[in-house]
């Protein structure tokens, strides 16, 4: 296990949206997907995923339905709604702008100022 990074406040929502934008997932699947795409650098307390999922569902950004998992057990699958896709796009744009800006700031050499 390499170095890990604490999640910034509010970023969990974005990660969840991104994870399920690639296809419907159950809660454990969301966890695996996040770990997989972040190459295990982001640490989430596993249970905290669920209140976040419920909140997003309550806001109508994601939807859910019961289905059957790979190992043939009943599991609840989450997927993006139209509103969710819009939100993901907005948030992704925002993050990209923010990280570009911060990258620029940090990359600035003394002579640039």
């Amino acid at each position: 296990v390499g170095t890990t990074t604490e999640l910034l406040q509010g970023t969990l929502d974005l990660l969840i949206l991104k994870a399920i934008s690639l296809g419907p997932l159950h809660g454990y699947g969301v966890l695996l997907r996040i770990q997989q795409i972040s190459r295990d650098t982001l640490q989430i307390q596993q249970g905290s995923l669920y209140p976040a999922l419920y909140r997003l569902e309550h806001q109508g950004i994601i939807g859910s339905e019961w289905g059957v998992s790979d190992n043939h057990r009943r599991a609840k699958f989450y997927r993006l709604t139209a509103a969710g896709r819009r939100r993901l796009r907005d948030e992704a744009d925002y993050w990209k702008r923010l990280s570009d800006a911060i990258g620029l700031v940090l990359a600035a050499a003394p002579e640039d100022v």
Binding site: H26, G27, Y28, L31, Q45, Q46, G47, S48, Y50, P51, A52, Y54, R55, E57, H58, Q59, G60, I61, S69, N71, R73, R74, A75, K76, A82, A83
Partner: protein, 913 residues
């Protein structure tokens, strides 16, 4: 979209909370199991994997809590637990709960009952189609006098034909009041019923459909009809015909005249006169036959006229349209045979909205009922202060629990909510008790509106207005008695941390000065002030009633029995009625126990309609006829003696004044002052308006009597009255007559049996009713009696509640100051000094309240001026007596705890410290 999604999610949470909890568990079990499998697959032992997976997942309870919060329905579950908590608390103190709920039940019940009567009488739209488009055809002068206008048939028929409004409907009760009711009997005992004459289009215009058969139609009101038809009320159908299926086509006898029943009206339809009802409705065309009146009765009968306006038509525009027609009618386009129409055309038509129907009862009771409703609302306020005190004391008793809850992190609003929920539970229980009480109370209140003269039929459904009122009242009560104590006690609780609770007294009673205002004082002052206002109002109404009861009537009512004789069904020819009546009077006068007997067309106080003469005023011949309209009675010799009203001049009517003899009259003092103005009125010739009463012959005044009451003991007694000999009344006397019987001693009602026997012996076909005059005087004062008794009851209740409130607050202060009082006594303070210490404070509060209450009373009493008689609204004596009563009660209430304080044993107190 998101808003809807949120709502849906919230509702799911609300209704499927348990299922969601189960689903969460299942979801998480799946998660943990999957994780365990993954860990096992990566080489851990199963036990280790299980431990690790659970640790990684975290505390499920915490996630669950957060999950609920995320779904926005956590407060529901908190509410549930608070509700349980509140119920538990109330169960622990049943006495508190019972006292509070019954007090609230009483005041909420009284308020709701009064409101439901106000609703039934004033607010509820008529139960007909589109009541908002109904309007009354009134006249400018009737509107100005707040009376109802009536119109003869040719006028409303003309309006109907002109079609300026959608429909015109006319009706007339057979008589206002109960003196004239139809007899539906077919012989033997009378079967009285309330009847209504209606125009043919009456029911159609109202949109009322028959429950059986059909309603009346225009052709039924055609004079050419030979078969009489009528419709009966649903009530009569059930009562008299046992809901018979074959009712249509059956015959009912109205005043012995057979009438074919063509339909049954729907249940709950009482006509358009709120507070009254009817059993049978006949077309006007049936009037002459049933009333045995001449044929032109149809044209002459005065009818109330209602209009159904066209959609979008306002009463104002209708008024303009109809006044245009009126001008044309006045110019001569009415049928020539309508002699009486002319005077109806000089008074401008005025259309008044009538969606809530019309009602004499309403005119009479509107102001009294609203006054009593306001009084009851003030009593509710007084009661709320008491309950607030109780809730506050209870809150303080629980301050330890509150402090603990605060210390372990309960936010203050949560504590406030627990207390408010408790209050809401109490108020809710009180409201339920109140509604049950209200249903009973309102019915008995209606019973008190009725008198021997008027029956009151008022539908009091528990409709949305009453329910909204009860719910709003409950909410307001909760806020009133719950909010302040909740805020106050929780502030105390939050202020005290757990560590300090042992040594600090709640509510910081440290000041010794009597005039320092403390929480709870405001309540006492408010209670005293409100009670004073209510007691003063009650005293004013009681004094009014007392004045009216003791006011001389101008005659003696105690020993007079009025016998109404109905000769409609006897075999006697109309021309022989005078002889019959004279024989009846003679027979009654000869009975033992009878001092005097005499007959008359009308008797005082029970008057509902009467003849009037239009007298020429010598000094002002051009004055409008309304000012020269003199109520006229027809009497037999000895009538004034039966009423014990003395003659001021001249003689009584006697046997010389027979039919055909020179016309004579007896007048009252007011008549002399208004129309005679001669030093000696005896021998003066009264002349009548030649245009309006061309057939009236001039009459010579032979006697003058004092002024007396005609309709109500409260009326202005300076109205002129004219009495004519019954023998000179008219060619054919009416079929009803009143015989007034004066007993030699004792209750006149005891004479009824022997009088009935004597009358029947002379003419078996008569029917009669007996009414003691004193009971009728009572009936005329029904409104004042109701006001006096209700305001008296509420005033006493308020005073009692204020006394209890003062007692409670004083006792509470004493209990708080026990240590201080103990020390004072140990240092040598005497008992008197202690009593003075406690009392001075209470008296200071009471006096403040009395001053505020006096000012408020002086301001508010102006509003009830119209309901008072013989006493001014700011009568100082009345107000002073109210203040005195209140101070006495307050002193007693405060002196009980004061005396208890003086018996405190200083050693016990000091040991406790």
């Amino acid at each position: 979209v998101t808003f809807v999604a949120r709502c849906m999610s919230f509702l799911r949470g609300l209704f499927f909370a348990r299922r969601q909890d189960r689903e969460m568990d299942e979801e998480w079990r799946f998660h943990v199991d999957a994780r365990i499998e993954a860990l096992v697959a990566s080489g851990r032992t199963r036990t280790e994997a299980q431990r690790l997976a659970h640790r990684e997942f975290g505390d499920p309870l915490r996630w669950k809590e957060q999950g609920r919060e995320a779904r926005g329905f956590r407060w529901i579950q908190d509410l549930d637990s608070d509700l349980r908590h509140a119920l538990r608390q109330l169960r622990h103190t049943p006495a508190f709960a019972v006292v509070t709920i019954s007090t609230l039940g009483l005041v909420i019940g009284a308020n709701t009952a009064l409101f439901s009567v106000v609703n039934g009488l004033l607010l509820r739209p008529l139960p007909v189609a589109e009541p908002e488009r109904l309007a009354m055809l009134s006249s400018a002068s009737a509107v100005a006098q707040r009376s109802q206008a009536t119109w003869p048939r040719p006028i409303w028929r003309q309006l109907e034909e002109d079609g300026l409004v959608e429909n015109v409907l006319a009706w007339s009760g057979i008589d206002r009041g109960a003196q004239r009711r139809f007899d539906l009997g077919e012989g033997g005992e009378a079967q009285p019923a309330d009847g209504l004459f209606v125009s043919g289009g009456f029911f159609d215009a109202l949109g009322v459909r028959a429950a059986r058969g059909r309603v009346l139609r225009a052709s039924d009101d055609d004079r050419a009809q030979d078969a009489l038809v009528g419709v009966i009320s649903h009530d009569l159908w059930q009562r008299r015909f046992a809901s018979a299926d074959d009712i249509v086509g059956r015959t009912i006898h109205v005043e012995r005249i057979p009438v074919a029943i063509v339909g049954v009206l729907p249940p709950g339809f009482f006509g358009v006169d709120v507070g009254r009802s009817f059993d049978i409705a006949l077309p006007f065309a049936a009037g002459p036959a049933v009333l045995r009146a001449p044929d032109d009765w149809i044209e002459q009968a005065s009818a109330s006229v209602m209009l159904r306006l066209k959609p979008g038509q306002s009463p104002a525009t209708a008024t303009q349209l109809l006044r245009g027609v009126q001008a044309r009618l006045a110019a001569g386009s009415l049928p020539a045979d309508c002699a009486i129409c002319e005077r109806f055309l000089t008074d401008p038509f005025t259309v008044v909205s009538a969606g809530v129907g019309v009602s004499e009862l309403r005119a009479q009771y509107q102001q009294p009922l609203i006054t009593v409703l306001i009084i009851a609302a003030l009593v509710l306020l007084v009661a709320c202060v008491n309950i607030a005190n109780l809730v506050h004391a209870r809150g303080l008793a629980r301050w330890h629990e509150m402090s603990v809850r605060t210390a372990i992190g309960a936010p203050r609003w949560r504590l406030v909510r627990v207390m408010l929920i408790e209050s809401a539970l109490l108020a809710g229980a009180g409201a339920v008790a109140g509604l049950v009480l209200a249903m009973w109370l309102s019915r008995s209140l209606i019973g008190h509106l009725a008198t021997i003269n008027t029956r009151v039929v008022l539908d009091l459904p528990l409709d949305w207005r009453v329910l909204v009122f009860a719910i709003a009242l409950t909410g307001a009560t909760t806020a009133l008695f719950g909010m302040l104590p909740a805020l106050r006690t929780t502030r105390v609780a939050s202020a005290l941390t757990l560590r300090r609770v042992a040594s600090v007294q709640p509510d910081g009673a440290t000041s010794r000065r009597a005039w320092r205002v403390r929480p709870g004082d405001g309540g006492v002052i408010l209670q005293v002030a409100l009670s004073l206002v209510l007691i003063a109002a009650a005293a004013l109404f009681l004094r009014t009633f007392e004045r009216l009861v003791t006011r001389p009537l101008g005659f003696d009512s105690d020993r007079v029995l009025v016998v109404q004789v109905n000769a409609a069904r006897s075999q006697i020819q109309p021309a022989a009625r005078l002889a019959l009546y004279e024989r009846l009077v003679e027979a009654v006068a000869a009975l033992p126990g009878v001092e005097r007997a005499a007959a008359s067309r009308i008797t005082p106080v029970s008057v509902t309609s009467m003849d009037a003469s239009i007298v020429d005023a010598p000094d002002d011949p051009e004055s409008p006829f309304q000012d020269r309209l003199v109520p006229t009675n027809h009497v037999t010799p000895g009538w004034f003696a039966a009423y014990d009203s003395p003659f001021l001049a001249g003689r009584d009517i006697d046997v010389r004044d027979a039919y055909g003899a020179p016309p004579v009259a007896v007048v009252n003092q007011a008549f002399v002052e208004r129309f005679v103005r001669a030093p000696d009125p005896i021998g003066h010739l009264i002349t009548f308006d030649a245009d309006l009463q061309p057939s009236a012959t001039p009459r010579t005044i032979v006697g003058v009597v004092g002024n007396s009451v005609l309709v109500s003991p409260a009326e202005d007694r300076s109205a002129p009255l004219l009495y004519q000999p019954l023998a000179q009344c008219c060619e054919t006397l009416p079929d009803r007559i009143e015989i007034s019987v004066r007993s030699t001693a004792g209750s006149p009602a005891l004479l009824a049996r022997s009088i009935a026997a004597a009358l029947t012996a002379i003419e078996p076909g008569l029917s009669f009713t007996f009414r003691p005059l004193a009971a009728q005087v009572d009936a005329a004062l029904a409104r004042n009696r109701l006001l006096a008794s209700l305001s008296g009851f509420f005033g006493l209740l308020a005073m009692l509640l204020a006394g209890i409130g003062l007692y409670g607050v004083t006792a509470y202060r004493v209990s708080q100051r026990r240590p201080e009082i103990g020390i004072r006594m140990a240092l040598g303070a005497g008992r008197r000094a202690i009593v003075r210490l406690v009392l001075s404070r209470a008296i200071w509060l009471v006096l403040t309240g009395v001053i505020i209450g006096t000012v408020a009373s002086a301001i508010l009493s102006g509003l009830i001026d119209g309901l008072l008689y013989g006493v001014t609204p700011r009568d100082p004596a009345t107000l002073a007596s109210a203040v005195l009563i209140l101070i006495t009660v307050a002193t007693v209430a405060a002196s009980l705890p004061a005396r208890r304080a003086s018996r405190i044993d200083p050693w016990t107190v000091l040991r406790d410290q």
